[in-house]
């Protein structure tokens, strides 16, 4: 479709501003379209050495010994490190990121056991990457190969091989008696779920399995570190959070964070996968041994096999409703892969599974299960997509069985302000109903869908978003432009959305705010670019910094005019006396006076935007049309619409970009992507040819509707938009496949084989 009779990208704006809501060019754009932008792999330094990492060929093995002597003697090699080179102690300390130091260290370099194929075992620094790579084959590792467990079902079975002998299942604050692969079992209850099912006219229960999938950023992990002669460590890397890297390097290496400086380079995608550190501390160790800066760039295979995917899962959902479609009870069982170390996103999945529904009786059981795969990491609304695939499918089935429109049944049960979730929180103002209404009103929903083997599906998804801490400083230049310093690495255009919030407060053009993402020595502590938090929390810090500038500008004007500051106002970039109309200066005119009237003005903002659920979170919904090839089972997406509540869209183009990108990742998750594991725990498809992410040819345009239900906590009503959009697609596609074929899909990915299997077993 090249011409459309409707607007493919709609903003349902509820409040207009001068700068916010416009679409200026991004401040880092010129560098990024000319190849000048400096990403992690582009960094170089005098005397640079190159590191390579030796990785376990076994998914589960005891490491009896490692002999590095031959590698150390190889041409060009300057150092080799293993886990034995790491400090000991403090292993049980849990860092700010919620990971025990011991697990961090054992993931960075395996200790007594290799826990997944691709687990780092040793690393070499050499004059060239080729020398380093050749030396890896000279490292002799004596492995005792053990049986791996690759799914939650295998890991939870009686007599399963145990990954960690000291792991006991934590449940209700109590540790179990026996070694187990289940790190934790928790339960959330609301009302009386059994009573709710007894009152229901219809009860549907289904079991779902979803495959392990990868974030799939195009830039592999990369870091360079210099352990200088003064004991200070400088790291240049591609990360979603330079301060979190600083903390992790500090914890892994056992040195104070004040000795570490992290410079975030431009980052080539992350989606949650570039929150943790992998090669950063290893580079530092190699640099300490050699006295030279050491750089490690991962290969694509290392990215697949050695960095966090997001979990495969086994999910059961049971929902009961009365004949009118009112949901009376809902029970979810969620077992998620944590990978080699505890800490899957099952807690987040269980917070989201029923979030779109005001069901009076709920029970949610969550299991965090270790398996012989890389430690799972966040991936865009981590845990929520798995859960929504199950819940949304069951709700669509109930709607169909009761003869109720699938959007109407969701509206009938929609969560709203005051709805309490089973996991505790009560929603502030949220946009669940508004998103559903926008879906129902969209021309796509009522458009005819003709032709055989075609179906339309819908679904809704939630992500709670996080607040966390951000800082920002703004200094006023003599020409009236301002320099803005922030600590949030910019993955998707956030420099623009942060700068625009400052411009709005100051009443100047977006182009007159020059944002810079600074290193950890140059800006205050700022949490990760994740949790949909940058436009929200760093934007908020920029708002506060701009307010600070505004206050000081008014003070300066009061000094210049020799009148009371209370009688001066600053609006739309003009400073004026409220009592004397002669006294008036533009922001630019006053900026020019600063140097001669006391010096430059610098404003700062430092905020804690709250924890999980800050601002109420965001809902996203999809309408999707598919065609299923009856001979092969291949599913083609014909038309796709994403609706999301942005609270307030700062730069609508980049909000649409988040919605479109998240939707397509959800389509890939739904239709193609999976870690295809051999029985020995080896990933059979660890390349971008065989791990099939969507290409431009697989997709239609992704239409968008931005809904704006302002967040009650943010100065401009912003809700983060980075994540909720990945949640609904697999369920919406499954619903569409059902309407095309009559089968309900219970497995991800819904690739041709899975669809044919479902059709044949109908």
């Amino acid at each position: 479709m090249t011409t459309t009779e409707y607007d493919p990208n709609v903003v349902l704006s509820t409040k207009e501003y001068d700068v916010i809501g416009t679409r200026p060019l991004r401040p880092d754009g010129a560098d990024k379209v000319t190849g000048r932008a400096q990403y992690g792999a582009d960094f170089t330094a005098t005397g640079l050495l190159h590191g390579k990492v030796l990785r376990s060929p076994h998914a589960h093995a005891r490491i009896r010994s490692i002999d590095t002597s031959k590698a150390e003697a190889a041409p060009g090699v300057l150092a080799v490190v293993t886990n034995a080179d790491l400090p000991k102690g403090g292993e049980d300390v849990v860092g700010g990121e919620g990971v025990a130091v011991g697990d961090l260290r054992r993931n960075v370099l395996a200790a007594d056991k290799a826990l997944y194929k691709g687990h780092a075992v040793a690393a070499v620094a050499a004059a060239s990457p080729h020398d380093a790579e050749e030396a890896l084959s000279l490292i002799e590792v004596d492995y005792e190969v053990l049986s791996p467990v690759l799914t939650v079902q295998e890991a939870m079975a009686d007599g399963a091989p145990i990954l960690h002998e000291d792991m006991r299942t934590m449940a209700g604050g109590e540790a179990g008696d026996e070694p187990s692969n289940v790190a934790e079992h928790f339960r959330h209850d609301l009302g009386d779920v059994e009573k709710g099912f007894a009152e229901s006219d219809i009860v549907i229960e289904r079991e779902f399995d979803t495959a392990t999938v990868h974030q799939g950023y195009i830039e592999p992990q990369v870091a360079t570190a210099l352990w200088n002669t003064d004991g200070r460590v400088h790291v240049w890397c591609s990360t979603q959070g330079s301060f979190w890297v600083r903390d992790e390097v500090s914890n892994v290496l056992g040195i104070p964070e004040s000795l570490i400086k992290v410079t975030p380079m431009e980052i080539g995608g992350g989606f949650g996968g570039k929150i943790p550190s992998y090669v950063e501390p290893v580079c530092a160790m190699l640099s300490q041994k050699t006295g030279q800066p050491v750089k490690i760039v991962m290969t694509r295979q290392e990215v697949f096999e050695g960095t966090g995917p997001t979990p495969g899962s086994n999910v059961r959902v049971k929902v009961g409703a009365d004949a009118q479609g009112n949901i009376k009870a809902a029970h979810a069982y969620l077992a998620y892969e944590a990978g080699a170390f505890k800490g899957s996103p099952v807690a987040a999945g269980s917070q989201c599974v029923f979030a779109a529904y005001a069901a009076p009786n709920q029970a949610i059981d969550g299991y965090d299960v270790v398996v012989n795969k890389p430690k799972t990491q966040a991936y865009r609304a981590p845990g929520a997509t798995n859960a929504a695939f199950a819940m949304e499918t069951v709700v669509s089935e109930i709607a169909e069985k009761l003869g109720i429109d699938p959007v109407d049944i969701r509206l009938k049960n929609a969560a709203r302000e005051g709805t309490r979730r089973a996991d505790g929180p009560t929603f502030p103002r949220i946009g669940c109903e508004e998103v559903l209404q926008a879906m129902r009103d969209h021309p796509h929903y009522s458009a005819p869908l003709e032709g055989p083997n075609r179906g339309r599906g819908i679904s809704i998804g939630y992500w709670f978003n996080v607040g966390f801490k951000s800082t920002c400083t703004i200094s006023v230049n003599h020409d009236g432009a301002v320099s803005l310093i922030e600590g949030s690495t910019d993955i998707g255009g956030s420099r623009a959305s942060v700068a625009m919030q400052a411009a709005e407060v100051l009443g100047i053009r977006a182009e007159d705010v020059r944002p810079t993402v600074a290193d950890t020595d140059s800006v205050g502590y700022t949490d990760v670019t994740g949790g949909s938090r940058v436009a929200y929390a760093t934007g908020w810090a920029a708002h506060d910094a701009a307010q600070d500038v505004k206050r000081q500008m008014i003070e300066r004007a009061s000094q210049i005019w020799d009148i009371d500051a209370a009688s001066i106002e600053m609006e739309k970039g003009v400073i004026r006396s409220t009592t004397d109309s002669e006294l008036r200066m533009t922001f630019k005119e006053l900026a020019a006076e600063l140097a001669s009237t006391g010096g430059t003005i610098i404003g700062s903002g430092s905020i804690d935007g709250g924890g999980m659920g800050a601002g109420g979170g965001s809902f996203a919904g999809n309408i999707v049309d598919v065609e299923v090839d009856p001979d092969t089972g291949k599913v083609t997406v014909l038309r796709f619409t994403c609706v999301q509540d942005a609270g307030k869209a700062i730069h609508p183009s980049y909000v649409e970009g988040q919605m479109q990108g998240g939707s397509v990742q959800g389509i890939g998750w739904g239709l193609n992507e999976e870690y295809f594991m051999r029985g020995n725990g080896e990933m059979a498809n660890s390349s971008l040819l065989d791990y099939r992410m969507p290409t431009s040819l697989d997709l239609p345009m992704i239409d968008t509707v931005i809904v704006e239900v302002p967040s009650p906590s943010h100065p401009f009503g912003v809700r983060g938009v980075g994540e909720a959009n990945i949640v609904p697609p697999p369920a919406a596609i499954a619903h569409a496949i059902h309407n095309a074929t009559g089968v309900w899909m219970e497995k991800l990915p819904m690739n041709p084989g899975a669809v044919m299997e479902a059709v044949w077993s109908k």
Partner: protein, 161 residues
């Protein structure tokens, strides 16, 4: 270390000579030997397209070409797409259509799109999607990239008239 080969080539209209090992890819030579880091490595096996360059008029993934193979040939990289301080219409269209997020795939997409529009000034949406199917983008879902190429095509055709 294997003996190095002396290679003479033309890059972005300039004569360039360099020494490279037989095992070094063109991508490695561009980035690490010559210092043109605009071409990116996403996979090193020809599947992501982030290292796309033009070699004698055809787009190639430079990770699958050896440095020694470019003797006497002509290469255009992302650094050669703009004309001095004037952006190519494809670059302007990517900026104006917000067709990049993280930007790591952008050089490859711009180089590939430029060659598409040189060969086919009025491509259909399907032709754009087909041509760009060897370039992976994980951020945008391709919508704004396709629209940027459509926009650039219109602007380039208008400039021709």
């Amino acid at each position: 270390m294997p003996a190095k080969t002396y290679v003479q080539t033309t890059i972005n209209g300039e004569h360039v000579d360099f020494l490279c090992e037989p095992r070094q890819s063109l991508l490695e030579c561009l980035r690490d030997v010559i210092g043109l880091t605009g071409s990116k490595e996403g996979c090193n096996d020809g599947n992501c397209g982030a290292c796309t360059v033009v070699l004698d008029g055809r787009i190639v993934t430079s990770c699958l070409v050896l440095g020694v193979e470019v003797e006497g040939r002509e290469i255009t990289t992302i650094e050669g797409v703009a004309c001095g301080s004037t952006l190519h219409p494809v670059q302007t269209a990517f900026l104006e259509n917000a067709a990049l997020q993280c930007g790591i795939c952008t050089p490859g997409f711009i180089v590939a799109s430029k060659v598409l529009l040189e060969q086919n000034p009025d491509p259909t949406e399907h032709e754009i999607r087909f041509w760009l199917a060897n370039n992976l983008c994980r951020c945008t879902g391709y919508d704004k990239i396709v629209r940027a190429v459509q926009d650039a095509a219109v602007k380039m055709r208008e400039a021709e008239v």
